[in-house]
Symmetry: C2
Subunit: 106 residues, 2 copies
Amino acid sequence: MRDYQSTAQFFQVLAHPVRLQILAALSEQACCVCHLQALTRRPQAYVSQQMRVLRDAGMVSDEKDGQNVYYRLCNPTVEALLHEVIGSDRPRTTIADCNCPKCVDE
Amino acid sequence: MRDYQSTAQFFQVLAHPVRLQILAALSEQACCVCHLQALTRRPQAYVSQQMRVLRDAGMVSDEKDGQNVYYRLCNPTVEALLHEVIGSDRPRTTIADCNCPKCVDE
DNA sequence: TGGAAATATGCAAATAATCATATATATTTT
DNA sequence: AAAATATATATGATTATTTGCATATTTCCA
């Protein structure tokens, strides 16, 4: 990590409840946007906006598979911090209403 | 740490370059406000405001000694996070113009 | 006691972040 | 090729944060 300015920006990205929820979900498995929509109960555009913030911050990477875009965590520091502050006792929300191929298959 | 909302607020406090600089200094030793003023090159009222934010967030504790107030880190999670994101390669800024008893004695 | 030094607080202007809405693009299905 | 689905982007209104400045409070010392 560089100077205090960029470190502050890094923390700013984490200073958001929905982004934290998304990152916590991604720390378990890669998810498509529709999955995160169901998880967070937010409109698609909203989730997509947050994913851009996370992508621009270098915290997640995206991979397109057909119609779906799968996001995954790609930053070890973020993983470590999540573990530090959230730990493993986070609410294991099961998502019922996601119809992406990956969810339907399992 | 509790829910995502309070975790986000926790990160919000860290999402500030001057507060980060102050916390990094406190992670080495307790400092009075005048010391932090010299370090950050900000007006006294500015530093005092940031100290309130850190105090309200439960990250630092204050102890009055005569005219001076000494602040110290009092949150192990903050210490761990600072170490994670800043590490030990932070600029070791020596402060010349602080006249508090502690600084003058040494 | 009175003044100077150290620190804290209150408030307002400037700045930045959030979120809803509308719309665009790409892919699959029919 | 048109419709449907998944995702992305642009824009603007609202709200929150930052920061400078004036002033208050506390303590020390002459």
